[in-house]
């Protein structure tokens, strides 16, 4: 069937739930985008349910199928079968299109009006915005159109992005595609805390294969490969408040940490490791702190007072410029990956916290100075976001830098890209601040409910749609889109083929 042919006709329903009879031979899928052409433009519809319809009563249908099955009348058939039996399709109007502008539809399409499948040119209104970031191509059901979907990266990333999905639905692939597209764009820097070491491409294709990677990508890892930077933080860079909401301390311990910092400044951790007495601090509290820091950071003092580190990530001699380098890189629009695959959750989040406290503080200063406008936005990718944003964590340990950013980051051009399987654990107040959701497939009804409840568009009828999303299929629900856009994120390995170019060889000179 020609795709622009009529595939159904509007027969009943109400705003938000319109019923269409499918034309025989047509195959309408869940999630399909259909179009009704009207005098004053066209109406974009999206399929959210499909059912059988028949002019024959149920009892008669049961009898006819029984006769055929039991061999009483094998050749028995319906008279005008395509007329009497059909498929009913439930759709909702998602956008009213007039030329290059779209609006939220407020009227019903013409009764008995013919609907057709969408074609590429129906999406002429989807123009490339400023600061574009590619998410995927428009998808109608499982059919992918040649219409790329770009959103304004500055808007989207500073207003936080949530990527909810269960395992194997393509969230890492989607993030990789986004990061690839963003890599050489200077208008924002990104810090990726990568607990699975899957973005750089240590063992296969990854961001390292981007043509701009040598200039725009920094890869910090405790496991060296050529070009990587050793992920090491000097303990002088860690301040007591970096632990806030990440590691549990009693009030007495926290106060002791502050006393140590006020007394010894950057040497506070070393002095705690040495067990140096602190004014008004109970020696037992100090002793517990000493053990805690040893367990967490691997920092301890030798008999002669020399500070040693059991781990390679915290050091007394190296990594003095790590925080500054990362911030400089972010401010230069670089994309920075931290391979945290060898660390515990606490260590990973503490490293992120150390960087993000400085980033937020610096960007607050820029705002105060009036120089924030010229700076790139900064985005932080956090996997398993409930570790820092769940109700349980926030109740037990209070706010942390990640929740601070979720709450107030956008005022300072800093946003989170939170990835999670369990949206329901994140409080509604935090979800409400995540203005873009890239929804991938999810088989858990309770999780779908939480996603739908917090979406920027009304997705109450899209439960089945979300449940049926295959790998790489997604719905973008955002304050920056007029409707929830169904997309297909390309497979990363296929996507990057278009960028592979023969390198022009130039004669190089060595002095």
């Amino acid at each position: 069937m020609n795709r622009v042919e009529v595939v159904g006709s509007i027969i009943s329903g109400k705003h938000g739930s319109i019923l269409i009879r499918q034309k025989s031979g047509a195959q309408i899928e869940l999630g399909d985008l259909l179009l009704v052409e009207e005098k004053d433009g066209s109406l974009l519809l999206q399929v959210n349910d499909i059912a059988y319809g028949s002019q024959i009563s149920g009892k008669h249908l049961e009898m006819i199928s029984g006769m055929k099955l039991e061999g009483y009348a094998a050749e028995l058939d319906f008279m005008d079968p395509t007329l009497r039996n059909y498929v009913l399709v439930q759709v909702k109007a998602v956008a009213k299109i007039r030329g290059n502008s779209i609006k939220i539809p407020k009227t019903l399409p013409s009764f008995m009006g013919g609907v057709r499948n969408v074609i590429d040119k129906d999406f002429a209104f989807l123009t490339k915005p400023a600061n574009p970031i590619f998410f995927g191509n428009i998808r109608s059901g499982s059919k992918v159109l040649n219409v790329p979907v770009h959103l304004n990266g500055l808007d989207v990333f500073t207003h936080h992005v949530l990527i909810p999905a269960t395992t194997g639905r393509g969230k890492s692939n989607l993030v990789k595609v986004m990061l690839w597209d963003a890599l050489d764009k200077d208008f924002y820097g990104m810090l990726v805390l990568d607990p699975h070491d899957e973005y750089y491409g240590r063992h296969g294709k990854g961001l390292k294969d981007h043509g701009a990677s040598s200039k725009k990508l920094l890869y910090y890892s405790p496991r060296a490969i050529r070009g990587s930077i050793t992920l090491v933080l000097n303990i002088q860079l860690i301040k007591p408040w970096h632990f806030r909401g990440i590691v549990e301390f009693t009030e007495a311990q926290h106060e002791a940490m502050m006393v140590a910092y006020n007394t010894h400044e950057e040497e506070w951790l070393s002095e705690i490791a040495r067990g140096t007495k602190l004014t008004n601090v109970d020696p037992r509290t100090l002793s517990v702190l000493q053990r805690k820091m040893d367990a967490l950071l691997g920092i301890y003092a030798e008999d002669d007072g020399t500070i040693q580190s059991r781990t390679s990530v915290f050091s007394t001699s190296m990594g003095l410029s790590t925080v500054k380098d990362v911030i400089q890189g972010l401010e230069n629009g670089k994309k920075i990956i931290f391979d945290t695959s060898l660390f515990t959750d606490e260590v990973e989040l503490l490293i992120g916290s150390t960087i993000l406290h400085e980033v937020l503080s610096r960007y607050k200063n820029y705002k105060q100075e009036g120089t924030l406008d010229g700076r790139p936005a900064i985005s932080i990718v956090v996997e398993e976001a409930p570790r820092v944003l769940s109700t349980e964590v926030l109740t037990a340990m209070g706010d942390n830098i990640y929740s601070d950013i979720a709450r107030e980051g956008r005022k300072f051009k800093i946003g989170l890209i939170a990835i999670t399987q369990l949206v329901s654990l994140i409080p509604k107040t935090v979800l409400a601040n995540m203005n873009t959701k890239v929804i991938l497939g999810n088989e858990l009804a309770s999780e779908r409910g939480a996603i739908i409840d917090s979406a920027s568009q009304d997705l109450s009828a899209d439960d089945r749609n979300i449940a049926s999303l295959d790998k790489g299929e997604a719905i973008i629900s955002s304050n920056f889109t007029k409707f929830a856009i169904p997309i297909q994120a390309p497979l990363f390995e296929d996507f990057i083929k278009q960028f592979e170019k023969e390198e022009v060889k130039t004669k190089k000179r060595f002095v």
Binding site: R226, T230, L320, S321, K324, Q328, N332, K505, K507
Partner: protein, 431 residues
Amino acid sequence: MKMYKFAHLSDCHIGVWRDEKLRELNLQAFEKAIDTCIKEKVDFILICGDLFDANIPDLYQVKRAVEKLRLAKQNGINIYLIYGSHDYSPNTISMIDVLESAGLFKKVSQGEFVGDELQLEFTEDQKTWAKITGLPGRKIGLEREYFQALDLESLEQAKGFKIFLFHSPITELKTRFVPETQGVPISLFPRRFNYYAGGNIHKMVREEFADHAVVAYSGPLFGTDFRDLEDMAKGEKRGFFIVEFDKAIKNARFVEIKACDVVYQELDGTKKTAKQVEDELLKLANSVDAEEKIVLLRVFGTLSSGRPVDIDFGKARLILTERGAAYANINRYALSTEEKIELKVKGESKREIEERILVEKMSGFKVDPSIKDEKVRRFLEERLSSEKGTELAKNLLNALKTEQKEGETKTDFHSRVLRSILEVTRLEGSE
């Protein structure tokens, strides 16, 4: 097995100071270092970049340095070096090249590009059979491209006692003052060398990585700016390494070179009047232990009334000189007053203030929208946006600060400045 010894020096920056006394102290530090090498009977000396502070340094300084290098040679000590970021120029010959031609030392950064790969050659010391190679330093961290292109395999597979010379801050070891773009991560260095002799970082560092056994920076022998001298006053030692080895490193010890003691004192002027600060400053100048020492005073804070210009810093300096100070400097860049509009940019040194102003200005850089040619736009964006623009402006400013040398004709001076500018802007000749 016979034990050998080598010395590892770097960042001598001969000729760096404008002040005659400091310039002389810097040179004396170099002379003391070479004398120590001769006394210690080292087998060879490594100089890891920036022997001189400029590609064409002051000739009197060169003469004195050559005398010492020749003395070392006469004592059977070979000298191996690499260019640093200061004593190399892509457009003109450097004093290093002249002295190498005279046989005073050998540059060990030898090799060539084969396709995209940079293949380095080893220089073998005939006395100890140590294999030495390395990469030179370049301005604004351009040497990183060399590291990225290095054919590591051939270097790593070579047998013997191997030393790698470099003049770059290692990202993992660099201080907070070195920009992010100028670091080279250790993962770009060839593995399994016996010793990595570094220059560029103005601090003594000795560190070990999993695949890179001994990585060391000797730091400068004296210092090149007041921050270096302040660090000395705060306890940072200046000197070089003497390393003993046979098949492997047996011992690496730091030999301190003390050209002059440095005294550093701060005076907080916050909530004080200009008169009060002047009184305290003069009192400090009269009480500080100044004899035969470099005295650095830093006055900072915001005056409640009066202006910094009302304070007689000259008088304080005179007192210090009369009391026998080898050199006196009073840093007042971080001193302001409530009486006038606050300075938008603050810093502890002129260099730092300049840098911050440039960062401030360049952060808002946008290509003129009237330029339509995409190629030109890209070129400008690549050169002038963000940190690169700041670096370029900084280097351009430094190039323009160059002074005419004694005996240098105006034409020679002009063409030297022009060459520096072309080099900095990379508009001609170089990469």
